[in-house]
């Protein structure tokens, strides 16, 4: 089934084009953010998702409006993949008044209830616990929704993550745990910090299925999430997916990355890149023409120009709003 024909039998051409557009949008958005950050004007810590696009996009292709995606601090990619308004995403990163979170959260805390995007949390690892809550509520209220919790290889070493795996399992909660193992937690290698090196093996300890996939391969991610999501929707409980991937930039902007082996990023960019892999796969039988994909690239490029122009021009939150939104009565 590794032909474009085969792929289109699983996902429609529209879906595939939308997945490609999603990944390209994130890539151009993040590449541009890298440049803008260096130029100054972006507040706070900024963690870029470039390189990892297939992961969030492969997840989100399986989600419905009733589902919840739990974001991490590396938040831009998943937010865009989940369909949050990209103008509001950019404005939040710039801490503008009409950003996604009205400028109170910033880059690491993109959260958009109306798109089913929760988090992000800058304390790593909590997503699974919060996701369990969304899953329990969905089950109690019979919404049919599931939760997918993203967590990094680093976050997977937090106690709450491990506790939540157990809880999700004994209650058979409709939740999918998606570990984005990008090889590093800050400057520390996953291979060093994860006993035995394999996160997916932890699934067995908590009596749930665990698989590992190439996180740069949209189709591999899609398939793994499809299976896990179906399991969750069918009431059979949680699953864990470990998607191996690499980020193209530093832990956060400003990271000199001297801890990375020489040529690592270049190698990934050259031989594993999610956009390249995707293009290679879908154009095999000319079912999707190169020109169609190129056209998307062009459209996305223009969109991102507008997004940044808009965000940079947008005003900061008004000072009168300062104490708003602490309590439910502060509207």
């Amino acid at each position: 089934m590794d032909t474009a024909q085969g792929l289109i039998m699983k996902q429609s051409k529209t879906e595939l084009l939308s997945a490609y557009r999603g990944m390209r949008t994130i890539r151009i958005f993040e590449d541009r953010m890298h440049v803008e950050f260096a130029g100054g004007g972006v507040p706070g810590f900024v963690h870029l998702y470039a390189g990892q696009e297939a992961s969030a996009v492969g997840v989100c292709a399986n989600l419905t409006d009733a589902d919840i995606l739990l974001n991490t601090h590396r938040a831009h990619g998943p937010a865009i993949a989940r369909g949050a308004d990209i103008f509001a995403v950019a404005k939040e990163i710039y801490c503008r008044g009409d950003g996604l979170c009205r400028g109170r959260g910033g880059s690491a805390h993109l959260h958009d209830v109306k798109s089913g995007l929760w988090g992000a949390n800058s304390g790593v690892g909590s997503g699974v616990a919060l996701g369990c809550g969304a899953a329990l509520a969905a089950r109690n209220n019979e919404t049919g929704g599931i939760a997918v919790a993203l967590v990094g290889d680093g976050g997977a070493n937090q106690g709450v993550f491990l506790e939540a795996m157990n809880l999700a399992s004994i209650w058979k909660l409709p939740v999918v745990i998606m570990v984005e193992n990008n090889g590093y937690a800050e400057a520390t290698a996953a291979d060093y910090a994860i006993a035995g090196g394999d996160i997916h093996k932890r699934a067995a300890a908590f009596d749930m299925p665990g698989v590992v996939v190439d996180g740069h391969d949209y189709f591999a991610v899609y398939d793994a999430v499809l299976e896990a999501a179906e399991r969750a929707r069918a009431g059979h409980g949680p699953s864990l997916i470990e998607a191996k991937q690499r980020r193209y930039y530093g832990h956060f902007e400003g990271d000199a990355q001297s801890y990375r082996p020489k040529g690592e990023v270049e190698e990934y960019r050259k031989n594993r890149d999610c956009l390249k892999q995707f293009r290679q796969k879908v154009i095999l039988d000319d079912l999707i023409a190169t020109a169609e994909l190129d056209a998307i690239d062009g459209e996305v490029g223009e969109l991102i120009d507008r997004v940044y122009a808009d965000a940079i021009a947008a005003p900061f939150p008004s000072e009168g709003e300062f104490m708003q939104y602490i309590y439910a009565t502060d509207t």
């Binding site: 979170c101 209830v113 949390n121 909590s126 699974v128 616990a129 919060l130 996701g131 809550g133």
Partner: protein, 336 residues
């Protein structure tokens, strides 16, 4: 109206709120008791039997026993609250906040603000506070000052059955995260409590006793210690106004200031720690906002700055008593 213990009042409050609103769920360690064990279910209702009977009444979809994983089930409760349920999560002893502090102070408290007002987190955390059972330093603390440090939480400290039931209803109906602190030495206290549901608003202190000479602000169980002292002082002709703030966030500073403006003297009695505690907070509010009314130093009656000992004789020394309150009142009255 009938006589009920603090335990019964809380149990009844829970039952009534769960009937009133099907989105209220209960979650925690042994809130029912007996899960998977093969004997009776609904066997415990928590170590103090406060939630006994709720599983039988509301079923396992709404009353959930958890593993000993406070961080996970508090996170779950927050997520459920963000989804529109109204979880009442049981923390058993407030000291265990140690293992789920992040969930409460970094997630629940900041959720609405950090995300720009998109959410409501109608979560109630029930938890036991206080010394008196000889169970040492990791099971006897009063941590409401620590909870109160964090904007975004509301904090409730009922001193008797009537307040407990009415404040619990408000906590459950409130759209913000509320930490509901039950003093473990009050469970047997009896009071007239209405049978029907009622809600006591947050941020309204209770004038437990009128008096002209000294304002005594007392919190949680210390209300009773203050009253004991006040009765005794009345015999000496000293009139104490005893105020129970009932919630530490929001804090009814107006009532306290109003009283101090009448009496000119303030003694604060609190079982929480002396450093960065509620007694200091209340003193600071008055020293800033009612300074000109003050005729005497503000005296705090609190435990000393120490972990809590297990030995009953030392624990007794730890907990403020009426004698210490009387001494403090004498001092502010200039009768040393």
């Amino acid at each position: 109206m009938s006589k009920k213990t603090y335990r019964q009042a809380i149990n009844e409050g829970l039952v009534q709120e769960m009937h009133r609103d099907p989105s209220v769920i209960l979650i925690g360690e042994d809130v029912a008791g007996g899960a998977g064990a093969g004997g009776d279910v609904d066997a415990w209702g928590g170590p103090m039997a406060v939630t006994k009977g709720l599983l039988s009444e509301f079923g396992p979809k709404r009353v959930l026993d958890t593993p000993i994983s406070e961080a996970a089930y508090m996170g779950l409760a927050i997520g459920a609250a963000a989804s529109g349920l109204r979880p009442v999560a049981d923390l058993m002893f407030n000291d265990f906040i140690g293992v789920c502090f992040d969930q409460i102070v970094n997630q629940a408290a900041k959720y609405r603000y950090m995300y720009g007002g998109q959410d409501r987190i109608p979560l109630t955390v029930r938890t036991m506070i206080g010394a008196g059972l000889g169970i040492s330093s990791q099971h006897s603390q009063c941590l409401y000052p620590v909870f109160s440090y964090f904007a975004g939480l509301k904090v409730v400290i009922p001193s008797g059955p009537y307040d407990a039931k009415g404040l619990l209803a408000s906590a459950i109906r409130d759209d913000d995260p509320v930490i509901f602190c039950e003093h473990k030495m009050l469970y047997e206290m009896v009071e007239e409590v209405p049978d029907e549901p009622y809600a006591i608003p947050f941020g309204e202190a209770k004038f437990v006793r009128e008096g002209e000479d000294v304002t005594i602000v007392a919190l949680s169980r210390m209300v009773h210690i203050a009253m004991e002292a006040a009765e005794s002082l009345a015999k000496e002709g000293i009139g104490c106004e005893v105020i129970d703030p009932r919630t530490t966030t929001p804090l009814d500073t107006e009532s306290i200031i109003e009283s101090v403006e009448e009496t000119g003297r303030l003694v604060i009695v609190d079982e929480a720690g002396p450093r960065c505690g509620m007694a200091s907070e209340i003193a600071a509010v008055v020293a800033e906002e009612a300074f000109s009314a003050l005729n005497a130093p503000i005296i705090k009656v609190t435990p000393p700055y120490t972990p809590i000992p297990a030995a009953p004789n030392l624990e007794k020394l730890y907990i403020p008593d009426a004698g210490q309150v009387i001494t403090a009142v004498h001092k502010v009255m200039g009768r040393e």
